[in-house]
Symmetry: C2
Subunit: 389 residues, 2 copies
Amino acid sequence: MRNLFFLILCFLWAGIANAQQNVGFRKGNIQSPEINPDHSVTFRLQADKAKQVLVLGDWEANEGKGEMKKNKAGVWEYTTPVLPSEMYTYRFSIDGVVDLDPVNPFTKRDVGNIFSVFFVDGGYADQYQVKDVPHGDMITTWYHSNRLQADRRLSVYLPPFYGKENKSYPVFYLLHGSGGDETAWVELGNVARIMDNLIAAGKAEPMIVVMPNGNSGKQAAPGETAENHAYKPVMTNQLPGYKNGDYELAFPEIVQFIDTKYRTIPDKAHRAIAGLSMGGFHTLYTSINYPTYFDYIGLFSAGLNMTTVDQTLPAYRDLEGKLKGLKQTGYKLFWLAIGNTDFLYEANQTFRKQMEAVDFKYVYHESTRGHIWANWRQYLLLFAPQLFK
Amino acid sequence: MRNLFFLILCFLWAGIANAQQNVGFRKGNIQSPEINPDHSVTFRLQADKAKQVLVLGDWEANEGKGEMKKNKAGVWEYTTPVLPSEMYTYRFSIDGVVDLDPVNPFTKRDVGNIFSVFFVDGGYADQYQVKDVPHGDMITTWYHSNRLQADRRLSVYLPPFYGKENKSYPVFYLLHGSGGDETAWVELGNVARIMDNLIAAGKAEPMIVVMPNGNSGKQAAPGETAENHAYKPVMTNQLPGYKNGDYELAFPEIVQFIDTKYRTIPDKAHRAIAGLSMGGFHTLYTSINYPTYFDYIGLFSAGLNMTTVDQTLPAYRDLEGKLKGLKQTGYKLFWLAIGNTDFLYEANQTFRKQMEAVDFKYVYHESTRGHIWANWRQYLLLFAPQLFK
């Protein structure tokens, strides 16, 4: 009886707090999304007055599109085919207004949009979620770039036990694509979970992962600069400094900052760099302009459409000569990954021929599908275990 | 001509990348919210088929409610009265479906819901945004609690120049309320910006701010534990371990972890603790159970409704005796803040009488309004400058 009284008080209190805080709790008993035992996924939405509701997701089946039907309880519902294990994003289109699933509290921002998110277990996605293993630290910090004349923000993952052991660590620089920023690999790439899980399983060496902001005309992600909300997310080609080579040429400032601030092993054998899309482009030109810096280099769906590059700029001139330079200096791994339906597929094949023409050794990985985060997470899962061994 | 060609290629590339990445850029030219020069705010939504659209926000005027009207261009629109400077959250109700503003990329999660967010400048909100000042680091890390038998996550702010100077810092422990977690003060409290701005202005001492997770039955925020999405945000009274006193009694484990990991000044004169709502309750019982730990104590809209407390539990028994104990040990500041319409107002007045009955000195601050983040951010702005001086 005393417990019952206590419980009633608790709920009463929660109710009042609610009203005042406007936290507007998820209403009713609608569960969405529901991951079914067969790994199909059911979405539900209470929208009494809507005429048409669609699910728009990033899975392959039916191109991620599903027409929802009103069920007997007046709730719109749709069940996907069986989905492979992945992290998926989706939104609802409610009579043409595209917005979040209002009962799903888990979201991710991708460039200018917010998506609802869910995981289908039993494969890749197990690596993208939290397991009961030791966890590293996630840090946002700021370095000063003399070349870019700005304090700039970056994300840093420190491996479990960093600072507890009298030990220094190798460093992996991981670069985002156009429209991304220093939060992209953390949020959409699930870097902390992937690294925690790979390290705990003994598949990857404990390492520091550094994720800088690759938009050289900006100091940080939208909302994190002194422009605050006046700077909204856009693709990087709409920002100043795009492909002028300053970012790549300024990269040693980041390495120096990290080597000063953290317990690193500050040599080439203990440095890796990789990036997706525009970040793959940045990776190529950073590594070949500074051939003494990185022993491990990864290009994920790299933006190697060289027709958009001004090859008279110091950073971008003499690709062939610089490839030869890196070949001469030496490196342990140059890894090129691309999906077979990626719009950059042909550009990557052209670049393979350029490398082969100067007998520049590389490892090629071809996956299915296109220019998508599912591929980039999987490339990270394949690339990180090859580092520092 | 060459530049034009380059531009066309860029946009073409962005277009294709878009299609493949499904980043689904903000469509059209709708701007929402628009902060008008007079500090009224206009919201806009493209919803051709909707019958009724409301804005539901957390400003005072009209209780944050606004009925949108379709304008000549077929866009729903509503303009608020002039709003005082603050960070505001809002959602749209579109024919009864309550969801984000789809063209605003800036969001915050409060307990179980995602809100669109904006700032009105010219007052308090200037402190909650990024300025061109030196920035501290934001960290998420994990400590082990023997008493709670778990690795547990916490958020840490390190002041600018930490580690660059041969210097140690005082520590401020800042606790969230029911339904919150280690991300609440960071996201909704804008702690990093507030501390950066106060420190840069010389108003607050450089200090470390530690924001633990106060849900003793959970290791971390929803989505950050090995339960992943199976653990959805709820008010803390729906979680195991609520108000059993374990969290308060286990608190020295957090202090020890922080004093080991960071450059702290590990004594009472250089430690503060404060919390909002449930966190104010945690603050009270942590500080009086450990009277040698904190010289600065802050209760923000504290959950002092003692009828819901089992006063036979070791942490909660003998409130009067423990107040006398802290009085005897000594402290520099005991600061109590409450809004005059807060549902906990009377409970806080009762507690004032309890303190006065044992001649326990405190400073009282009464604000307008109720149990809301606007008050808690303002209390932080008032409390932090009083510390370590």
